[in-house]
């Protein structure tokens, strides 16, 4: 489901989104759907970025505040916030973001490696950078996000 499946010469498709006022993008294959915000059920003993769980057609899925998870503080309440439902190696979770903008197609060589890898705060979560229309999009490593999730829960 990740872009590693796609051969190098084919462009990868990403969905760009905004969290904490900054631009991110996520491999389109991982995204299942995008929903508007609905109240969640709080989970005890969860870390602050885990907002709770919501009902997605009968499945219980955790909702994570992406901004908070990336260490940028909690997302403020806004009716325009959306939840991006992602599928990661058999698990489904929702990411609370401020906005989802568009689908972008990027050739393999258009993704630059994250130069700060392993030195900054959350190195594993940003695996690349895409420069686009004078804006820089950070490519999110969802698996890394989900791994952190598992560790919290355990």
């Amino acid at each position: 489901m990740t872009d590693s499946n796609v051969s190098a010469d084919q462009p990868s498709e990403f969905v760009s989104l905004t969290a904490g006022g900054q631009g991110f993008c996520v491999d389109i294959h991982a995204i299942r759907e995008i929903r508007s915000w609905t109240p969640v059920t709080t989970l005890p003993f969860a870390e602050p970025s885990v907002l709770g769980v919501m009902n997605l057609r009968g499945a219980v899925i955790p909702i994570i505040d992406l901004k908070d998870r990336l260490g940028l503080g909690a997302t403020s309440e806004d009716h325009r916030n959306v939840i991006v439902i992602v599928n990661l190696s058999g698990r489904t979770l929702g990411l609370l973001v401020e906005a989802v903008s568009e689908i972008i197609s990027v050739p393999a060589d258009g993704i630059l490696p994250n130069p700060t890898s392993a030195t900054e705060g959350n190195p594993a979560q940003i695996i690349g950078l895409i420069s686009r229309d004078n804006q820089m999009l950070r490519v999110l490593d969802l698996t890394g996000l989900a791994m952190a999730e598992t560790e919290d829960a355990a």
Partner: protein
């Protein structure tokens, strides 16, 4: 079908065959049997052998063959059934069942009892003074094609006389015969071919007698599909269908094949017809039906929720919907339900082995074998029950000498029973042994550092020490029950399927371990409550009662230690909202839910509001998230919101030492 899928079918079939075999043996043991009983056992063993051969399970085949030979002697009355024979064939079926189990992991492993039982079986074969059994009589069948589906393969004998149109259409008999598989013998009768002078090129003269092994008639008919109407096909088996195609004018006398291979009577084993379904499909169905129930509740709430009068027709249609949804749910659940009989039969083997290993004479009694519970539960009960039964024989029952000294019958009795009790399944393992030696248990617990030396414990608390992790230690390891697994593992595995274990024991009269299980893993009865702003569910199984107490009954012993006065007894209060981190201030007003912990201690859970009791569909949190302390799972309420299901035991543990030090309270009802 892949090889793995075929193997899975084989093992599923073996399970049924082993069941049929065990059932037959039981009838013999109960002295309620006839030749059909022995036939049934024989058939079961024979079928296992046949299919096992197809997979090359040689150890299994070799053993089944020996066993079958002995059974054949019984069947043909050359060997009578006495106590010894019964013992040997019972043990042989145990070994066979074990071999089948082993074959799933380690095809050529032999269980410990393999060699002695094999020797015993050989003993009967030799004492009956006959040479090596007629191997070839059964061997071909042993490698028959794997039985698939509901049609039991048979040996099919047919006579095939194609007429000229068959050849004219370009068909070749050999093609058809090859398509029937490797186990076909074809004999061509060329006697009807006339002399060349009388030969008519437009006539088909040849007649084949075919014997096809391990195929059903329908499979054979399929192979002959193209020959339909192009000749004569006669089925020579007893219950042959009408010949296919017109009877040609060349009627030929064909000698009937020798009838020495007549199969045992056609009657199938008495066990109920079953349909094999991949459990995942059923699970998917159960899940979807769960959604349907929730969806029904959502609709009901949307229609009735806003307080406006509801159109009576809508209301009645809604009622029908609710009724139908429940009906479907029950029906689907019952697909998963299975009688505990097969499990109990397996346990009989465990007890027999345990009796042999310890040198104790044990009579094993079962009750309520027809009790139905969820298949998953049955599977997950096997290990804990095995352990408990071994314990009952090894530690529960006294040695024969000790029993004699106490005027007990030399044969100890271990009873395994199952029953439905108010929405639960109760499974009991009891022995008529000496009962728990509480002084020794306490001493051991103190020695292992589980309790302080000066602790004053009630009998129940002492009994429950058996379940404490670290209680079962190396010095009590016998090669039977002490396999490094303690009763704590038993308890953990029972708890993990939503059950509880309790012990009752009477000095000199024996002990009883009671397992209380939910009927299924998918639904649960619970009380819906509010904790802070959250809606939560408390499983009803542990709840004694709900109480609205006056403020006089809530007493503060220390800032962290509050008790509730219930009919003269003091019960520690566990305030859920602060405990779960939803709120900091205390809720001293209740209402309260009294729950009984496994230790027998009673606690009062303080909540903000108690709504109602209902059946809820359990949704796992662990699939997408992970385990949460104090929470066992989640459910979806009528309004589509998720409510967490609390785990009372875990909450009590979470509440920490303050609550844990409380002593057992007697709360008069």
């Amino acid at each position: 079908m892949s090889m793995d899928a075929l193997k899975a079918t084989f093992f599923a079939e073996c399970e049924e065959l082993v069941e049929a075999m065990t059932e037959g043996l039981q009838q013999i043991g109960d002295d309620d049997w006839g030749s059909e009983t022995v036939n049934a056992i024989f058939r079961a063993v024979h079928s296992i052998k046949g299919s096992a051969g197809a997979f090359g399970f040689e150890t299994l085949v070799a053993f089944a063959h020996r066993y079958e030979t002995v059974l054949d002697k019984i069947r043909s009355n050359t060997l009578g059934i006495d106590a010894d024979v019964l013992r040997v064939i019972t043990r042989a079926s145990d070994v066979l069942a074990e071999l089948v189990e082993l074959a799933q992991v380690e095809p050529d492993a032999k269980p410990a009892a393999y060699d002695p039982v094999m020797t015993d079986l050989n003993g009967y074969i030799e004492t009956a003074a006959e040479p090596e059994p007629e191997e070839d009589l059964f061997a071909p069948v042993a490698f028959a094609a794997l039985p698939l589906g509901l049609d039991e393969p048979e040996d099919v004998r047919i006579e095939f006389a194609p007429d000229a149109s068959f050849y004219r259409n370009g068909h070749e008999p050999e093609r058809i015969f090859t398509a029937l598989g490797p186990d076909v013998s074809a004999v061509c009768d060329a006697d009807t071919v006339p002399l060349l002078s009388d030969f008519n090129v437009d006539t088909g003269y040849l007649v084949w007698s075919l014997e096809i092994k391990g195929k059903t008639e329908s499979e054979v008919a399929e192979a002959f599909e193209y020959a339909k109407g192009l000749g004569r096909i006669d089925y020579l088996s007893d219950d042959a269908p009408a010949p296919v195609g017109p009877v040609s004018e060349i009627a030929v006398e064909v000698p009937a094949p020798p009838s020495t291979q007549a199969k045992p009577a056609k009657a199938r084993p008495a066990s109920a017809q079953t349909l094999r379904i991949d459990p995942e499909r059923v699970d998917r169905l159960i899940n979807t039906v769960g959604e349907l129930i929730i969806n029904q509740a959502v609709i009901a709430q949307k229609i009735e929720g806003d307080g406006t009068p509801v159109d009576p027709e809508v209301a009645s249609a809604l009622d029908d919907y609710r009724y139908l949804a429940r009906e479907i749910q029950e029906a689907v659940m019952s697909i998963r339900a299975q009688p505990v009989k097969s499990l109990f039969q397996r346990m009989a083997r465990v007890v027999r082995e345990a009796g042999e290993a310890t040198g104790k004479a044990v009579s094993f009694e079962t009750r309520g074998e027809a009790t139905e519970i969820d298949k998953t539960l049955i599977e997950r009960l096997a290990d804990p029950l095995t352990h408990m039964l071994r314990n009952a024989v090894d530690h529960g029952l006294e040695s024969p000498e000790d029993r004699a000294a106490t005027d007990k019958h030399a044969t100890g009795t271990v009873t395994l029973s199952a029953a439905h009790r108010s929405g639960h399944v109760m499974i009991e393992v009891s022995d008529d042994g000496a009962g728990l030696d509480r002084a020794r248990i306490l001493k051991k617990a103190i020695a292992n550092g589980l309790v302080a030396e000066d602790t004053n414990l009630s009998d129940t608390e002492i009994d429950n020490l058996l379940f404490a992790p670290g209680f079962s230690t190396a010095d009590q390891v016998t090669n039977l029950s002490g396999r490094g697994v303690g009763m704590d593992v038993v308890k953990t595995s029972i708890t993990s399927i939503g059950g509880r274990v309790t012990i009752t024991s009477e000095q000199g009269r024996g002990s009883t371990f009671t397992i209380l299980l939910p009927l299924t893993l998918a639904v649960l009865d619970g009380i819906v409550v509010s904790v802070a702003d959250e809606t939560m569910v408390v499983p009803i199984a542990t709840i004694i009662e709900t109480i609205r107490a006056s403020s006089d009954d809530v007493i503060e012993l220390s800032p962290d230690n509050w008790v509730l006065k219930v009919r003269g007894a003091y019960v520690p209060i566990i305030d859920l909202a602060p405990l779960l981190g939803f709120r900091t201030e205390r809720n001293a007003a209740g209402p309260f839910i009294l729950v009984e912990a496994e230790t027998g201690a009673v606690y009062a859970f303080a909540v903000d509001e108690i709504w109602d009791q209902r059946q809820i569909v359990i949704k796992s949190l662990e699939g997408n998230y992970g385990a949460i302390p104090g929470i066992s799972a989640a459910t979806i309420l009528g309004d589509g919101q998720i409510a967490l299901i609390v785990d009372p035991e875990a909450l009590i543990a979470l509440a920490g030492p303050t609550a844990m030090t409380s002593h057992k309270q007697k709360v008069g009802a």
